[in-house]
């Protein structure tokens, strides 16, 4: 249920951004969910629904999965994250703190842990849409 804390982060960030942009009522919230974080989409969406605030009460939530793309800083190899061969403990560590990928994952070509997560690290608030105060 760690998804709840992440959903709280999305709601509070969306609320802050709406305030900064003068948006009174949010109509749409688009969230990117990186594969590394291995979020349960159903739980996450349920948490977002439960955490609705008055200015978000009618907003549509859209979740988009983002594939984990990794790039080795040493040999330049680029590959896609997969938890297929991971044990539960390792998978859970990366789920909670995606940077733990550097502890458990090595470049498939040169075995270096010095790689960059190009895409798909974690939860990002991709965009919000809404109605401004003066419109």
């Amino acid at each position: 249920m760690h998804e709840w804390a992440l959903a709280e982060g999305v709601i509070s960030t969306a609320t802050r951004v709406a305030g900064e942009q003068g948006i009174q009522k949010i109509t749409e919230i688009n969230v990117g969910i990186g594969d590394l974080q291995q979020i349960e989409h159903d739980i996450f969406l349920f948490a977002l629904e439960q955490l609705r605030t008055p200015n978000i009460k009618d907003a549509k939530f859209t979740l988009q999965a983002i594939k984990g793309k990794l790039n080795c800083r040493v040999c330049g190899e680029e590959w896609e994250f997969s938890n297929r061969d991971m044990d539960e403990e390792t998978s859970e560590a990366i789920h909670f703190v995606p940077e733990m990928a550097h502890v458990y994952i090595k470049c498939p070509s040169c075995e270096s842990p010095d790689f960059e997560v190009l895409e798909g690290r974690g939860v990002i608030l991709a965009s919000i849409s809404g109605v401004k105060e003066d419109s």
């Binding site: 249920m1 804390a5 560590a93 909670f96 703190v97 502890v103 690290r121």
Partner: protein, 208 residues
């Protein structure tokens, strides 16, 4: 120092959390002898209780393996931990920091509004040079500094206290090198019997 300070504050009846933010060289779990604990997952993660402290360390996730993290990764991991950890009501959250003015220090300054720094220095010209830069940065950014404590003193010296005065920082005192401390690591009850811990008691009276 951070671990002992947290234990002492708990001993005084405070609600205390201890967060080890030294991701590349975490050590508080060794000092406090913490094994077999794991955070509970409930609407976030709840740090386990260790010796009466709410305790969080990257070692829950990295285990005993090296965590070769670059700067941006350290920042992201710090933000992640701060975002998902539910500390509950605390009187103090003691953060065990890596030395210097790197990512962890900058992130704490950026993200924690009510932070105060207790600077620890060994009686060494080399160590003080690092500390001086940190103090200067904290002053420039108007970040509250409780003061500087001199640790592992083997012979009387006024070097650090004089420099602290020059750098407009409160010198809180010194803690003698305690040869018994090494044998007490991993055992909190033994730790409390050391001369080192006695000095921490005195320090706590001064600063809390």
């Amino acid at each position: 120092m951070a671990s002992a300070l947290a234990i002492r504050l708990k001993e005084q009846g405070q609600n205390v959390g201890l967060l080890d933010l030294d991701f590349t060289s975490p050590s508080s779990h060794v000092i406090l002898g913490i094994e077999g604990l794991y955070p509970e997952e409930e609407y976030g993660i709840i740090p386990p209780m260790a010796h009466g402290l709410r305790y969080m360390s990257i070692t829950f996730y990295s285990q005993d393996k090296p965590a070769p993290l670059r700067g941006a990764d350290i920042s992201d991991a710090i933000i992640e931990l701060l975002a998902i950890t539910r500390w509950g009501n605390l009187d103090y959250l003691i953060v065990d920091m890596p030395p210097g003015i790197g990512d962890a220090t900058l992130d704490m300054i950026r993200l924690i509004e009510r932070i105060r720094f207790l600077v620890v220095c060994t009686p060494s010209k080399v160590a003080y040079e690092t500390v001086r830069k940190q103090i200067k940065l904290l002053h420039e950014l108007n970040i509250p500094t409780i003061g500087i404590i001199e640790n592992m003193v083997m012979k009387p010296t006024t070097y650090v206290s004089e420099r602290a005065g020059e750098d407009n920082t409160t010198y809180l005192g010194s803690i003698n090198y305690d040869p018994m401390l090494e044998d007490a690591l991993g055992n909190v009850e033994l730790l409390k019997k050391t001369e080192f811990y006695g000095s921490i008691r005195d320090l706590t009276e001064k600063i809390c």
